[in-house]
Amino acid sequence: MIRFVLSRLLQSLVALAILSVVVFVLARATGDPLQLVLPMSATPEDYAEARRYLGLDRPYVEQYLSFVRRAVTGDFGMSIRARRPVAELLQERLPNSLRLAAFAMGITLSIAFPLGVIAAVRKGTGVDRIAQVVAVLGQSLPTFWVSIVLVEVVAGRLQWLPAGGNEAGLASYVLPGFTLGWFVVAGMMRLLRSGMLEVLDSEYVKLARVKGVLERRVVWVHALKNALIPVVTFAGIYFSILVTTAIVVETVFAWPGLGRLAYEGISSRDYPVIQAVVLTTAVIVAVVNLSVDCLYAVIDPRIRHAR
């Protein structure tokens, strides 16, 4: 098991190293951030001075090495736009994204589990069809459209829930959490439904029924447990996606999270912020994937022995 974890860890580190180079190069390919920071009246001397002040006048290799050296200690430099340490901005934003993603995943699980199981148990009935429609809608309606409609109707017209920001406590989480969660419901429900259908048709489930085990126990304990493996992987991957890519939802709901920070960094060509957000995102994805792999290996020993 330790060998398996170490091998996965090494793979993740290599991926992070490659990514750090890619993001460093691509961030600079977007153009000069000083075009946005300095005023129209800035002279070439002003540009040179600002470049010196922000360390952008050094050779690229030197800039990269300095970035990596500091990044491993959690220092991502100073934001060009906010003129504050990027690590501080991450500390402010990341917890908001983690909380929102956790809430959204809670919504996903609470809808997808019953729907997926009931749809499988009642395959071909009206309930199954309704569940399929919910799934299709969740995946096919664009997130920005769902967000805008919820803000306009639920927050603006009906005035049931806050329209934006994260200052109104748990109520603030409902609309952005639902928007994010609904999108994931579709995939998870369908995965669970197909897994359940397969398991419900297996020999050991038939045997359990023959032995007189209560149907409720057969479905919710024996079958569900074995249909969970792909769902765990799916939930893990989607959790990291929810944390790191909720740009549209965070923008519409004025949510001060990592997605908005990424958007602000990209639109203002704030290299240190872009680099920090991408690397943080990559670390989150790597950690979640590693955890899922480990969990997978624990659940199904054949996987670790196969490596």
Binding site: G31, D32, Q35, L36, V37, L38, P39, M40, S41, A42, T43, P44, D46, E49, A50, Y53, R81, A82, R83, R84, L89, E92, R93, P114, I148, V151, E152, A155, G156, R157, Q159, W160, L161, P162, A163, G164, G165, N166, E167, A168, G169, L170, A171, V174, T251, V252, F253, A254, P256, G257, R260, L261, E264, S267, R269
Partner: protein
């Protein structure tokens, strides 16, 4: 219990939880907080020389200016730290008498040393404000003969110093606490700024809000009407309007196209009339205007080919007025005595445009690149660029519309990489001083990268303004600069844009004023 019953019970439980977490209509109750929602916070830095003019909206609540203004931009001894200012006979020494008893939020007295420190810092290396350049070249030294007196000595005679350090322009005139900044350092100051304005800093959550709390009985506002002021950043307009409907914000930026809808619901909409001029220009080559725009007839043809009234009505929802003079910042016109007469307005005359092009030997038209981009305060940017291209196509000019982001256009503009191609900007309106500062950037050859005019006659007039000590002569020089730019068609003025701000129904009277990048929120909060 049947499965159906369990499902119903689950739904009821969910609705109960939802009801518990919902704030209901609590947001609509009266609160001691003034909340403002803006679409963006330009830089999110709270250090005036770093943040610059774009963040005057909230910095002017935290800091005092050396010279105050009225909401309509007139210099006022009642609105700033200086209660009196006068120049020597040769206009090279400007003496400012400071208000006594002013304290910073940390309890330190505000003295002439703070003024000197602030002005030097505004012109220092850390500064990225928009207008420090002239101060750097004009100011020889700053003297502090007494705690309540500052003398600014200039290298050349000038009249511009009080205006340059006033609230009418950028953030150069904001007074900062010398002792505090020197003791905590620049970065700590930017994180926890201390000013002397009517509201002091409480917290900043980047991407969310800035919160300020009132100073009891400040000399500028008296006993404040609102205990706290919160400025929220809410990028999406639908969300800002929903917040307004819920009573969670008191003032919010809205787009021109949604004014009717918001007004219909009974929310007052306040306009900053002619807040910006939407002006277009050709990127110059190394030696100025390139062919075929070198020919005055081509420049005029491109101007008369545009139907400004239709653009104002259809693209800007009727919340705009046709403009006549390139770079013509109209808030300054009254001060400099410039009257725009009907014959100065460009008519929509495609037939004349075609004739002018034919006279210039371009009867079969020519090809031109035009950049299309959105800008803050100009969500209609790309639609506008498409509309204007359509007018030019009608008279035979083949336009290649290039969608870019503004920085990409700006780089081409200042590097002069694509001479002859066209761009635009919604230039914030301002007083005569700010207007001069703009002309000095965009219509003056020696300030090279940003020049859009390249005309020796205009250069000659602008070069005299900063050194001129007779105000009437300054007015004449600026007036004639504009008339020359208009008569030579050295740019394409399109429309003046009115900027709407929706307010809650109980906000009361508010004059957002006519000062560049400043909505005069402190007037809203004033208890005087």
């Amino acid at each position: 219990m049947t499965r159906a019953k369990r499902i119903v019970r689950g739904c009821l439980l969910f609705l109960t939880v939802l009801a518990l977490v919902m704030p209901g209509t609590a947001g609509a109750q009266a609160k001691p907080d003034l909340t403002i929602a803006l679409s963006s916070f330009a830089t999110e830095s709270l250090d005036p020389p770093v943040a610059g003019h774009l963040v005057k909206y909230y910095l002017s609540l935290m800091f005092d200016y050396l010279v105050g203004t009225t909401p309509d931009g007139q210099l006022s001894p009642n609105g700033g730290i200086a209660t009196k200012w006068e120049s020597s006979a040769d206009h090279k020494r400007w003496t400012f008498t400071l208000r006594k008893g002013v304290k910073f939020h940390n309890g330190d007295d505000l003295t002439s040393e703070d003024v000197k420190f602030s002005l030097e810092r505004a012109g220092g290396k850390r500064s990225t404000t928009g207008y420090a350049g002239i101060l750097r070249t004009l100011v020889a030294s700053i003297e502090t003969p007494a705690p309540d007196r500052v003398v600014i000595v200039t290298k050349d005679p000038t009249l511009i110093i009080p205006n340059y350090l006033s609230r009418a322009l950028s953030s150069e005139g904001m007074i900062l606490p010398k002792k505090y900044i020197e003791s905590v350092g620049d970065d700590a100051f930017a994180r926890k700024p201390v000013g002397s304005g009517p509201y002091k800093f409480v917290e900043q959550i980047t991407g969310s809000h800035i919160r300020l709390t009132a100073v009891d009985n400040h000399w500028r506002l008296g006993a404040p009407k609102y205990k706290t002021v919160t400025i929220r950043v809410v990028p999406e307009e639908t969300t800002r309007i929903a917040l307004l409907r819920r009573g969670e914000v008191d003032v919010t930026e809205i787009s021109r196209e949604r004014v009717g809808e918001v007004e219909k619901e009974g929310y007052p909409v306040h306009f900053r009339k002619e807040e910006a001029i939407l002006s277009m220009w050709w990127i110059l080559g190394p030696d100025g205007m390139v062919a075929p725009m070198k020919d005055k007839r081509v420049r005029e043809a491109m101007n008369v080919a545009i139907d400004r009234n239709e653009i104002a009505q259809s693209i800007f929802a009727g919340r705009a007025e046709p403009a006549a003079i390139p770079l013509g910042l109209s808030w300054s016109f009254k001060e400099i005595g410039l009257k725009v007469t009907p014959d100065m307005m460009y008519p929509y005359d495609p037939a004349r445009a075609k004739k002018l092009l034919a006279d210039a030997g371009l009867a079969s038209g020519f090809s031109l690149d035009a950049y299309a981009y959105q800008l803050p305060g100009l969500p209609e940017g790309k639609a506008f660029a498409e509309a204007v291209s359509g007018y030019w196509e009608k008279v035979g000019i083949k336009i290649k519309l290039i969608p870019v982001d503004y920085p990409a256009f700006r780089k081409n503009w200042v590097d002069r990489k694509t001479p002859g191609s066209i761009g635009y900007f919604n230039i914030a309106n301002r007083d005569w001083m700010g207007t001069f500062a703009l002309l000095e950037k965009m219509a003056y050859s020696p300030s090279k990268p940003n020049d859009t005019v390249n005309d020796a006659e205009v250069d000659g007039m602008i070069s005299q303004v900063a050194k001129q000590t007779d105000r009437e002569k300054i007015n004449t020089l600026m007036r004639n600069s504009f008339l020359r730019i208009r008569s030579e068609h050295l740019g394409m003025p399109i429309v003046y844009l009115h900027s709407p701000y929706a307010a809650s129904k109980k906000l009361g009277k508010w004059n957002p004023g006519s000062v560049m990048y400043d909505l005069f929120f402190d007037e809203l909060a004033s208890g005087k």
